[in-house]
Symmetry: C2
Subunit: 125 residues, 2 copies
DNA sequence: GCCGTAGTACGATGGTCGTCGTAGTATGGT
DNA sequence: ACCATACTACGACGACCATCGTACTACGGC
């Protein structure tokens, strides 16, 4: 009886171009910013993305395969967290500067999306 | 009698995703790293890219339209420079962290390409 | 004027990418 | 066992992207 295990690139396999490519998409940047604001990890279902569920699955896979996020199953849910330590070691300041740059820009969709802007705290504890 | 003028996006028009997308390509990253090492500006012909001239033109256009580089004609040559001040104002630390991350990685092609790794100084003066 | 050089518009090609719906799998609760 | 939930593999679609060759434009030197 095995729990589902997901493949992640090792630190040596993480490529700068793949990371930049992963971060260059609005939906994936949204996920990364959400996780940057969240202590610990967050399930996919906690993050509202303005795309279908199957597209969301695609985007999470791109982030994982680029080495930007760590994913682990807990029951049916997939818990996500940034590989901040790895990315900061490989590319110092990159993640922080991207996240803070994304946070500063004017957001047009902030009024229309619910929940994506803020991580839920103290839920299911 | 007009000199050829190139369109550049204003600071307000520069988008984080477009910048990240522009930097996510190996050839374009090569150009940006070259220009980061170069004081002042460099002509396209000074930067050896491992692609054809027409593909090179395509890549320079992507960088310019993303707002990463400034381009100006001097005779038949196009002089390129990074829009460092603009990018640092918009996305503090981003350009520096990308460039230093790119500089740190092991380069497999460094032995096979000539000149791209180092800007030529005191040539044609 | 011609010539050499730098760079390009155009069109084509093949691959990549983001998108989605559908039918499916895996899990935990009952 | 069933059920609800989270998530996904698959295939499809249309747009985007990187690539190149060809014929071209613009420029400065002579």
């Amino acid at each position: 009886m095995s729990v589902r295990v997901l493949e992640h690139p090792s630190v040596e396999e993480i490529r700068l171009e793949a990371v930049l490519h992963a971060l260059a998409d609005p939906a994936r940047l949204e996920v990364v910013c959400f996780l940057a604001r969240t202590e610990g990890e967050a399930a996919c279902s906690e993050i509202d993305l303005a795309v279908s569920k199957s597209t969301g699955t695609h985007h999470y896979r791109v982030l994982r395969e680029a080495g930007v996020i760590n994913q682990v199953y807990q029951g049916t849910a997939k818990m996500n967290s940034l590989r901040k330590a790895d990315l900061d070691a490989l590319f110092p300041c990159l993640l922080d500067s991207v996240v803070s740059a994304a946070a500063k820009r004017p957001r047009r969709d902030q009024g229309s999306t619910s929940g994506a802007g803020r991580p839920r705290t103290h839920q299911g504890e």
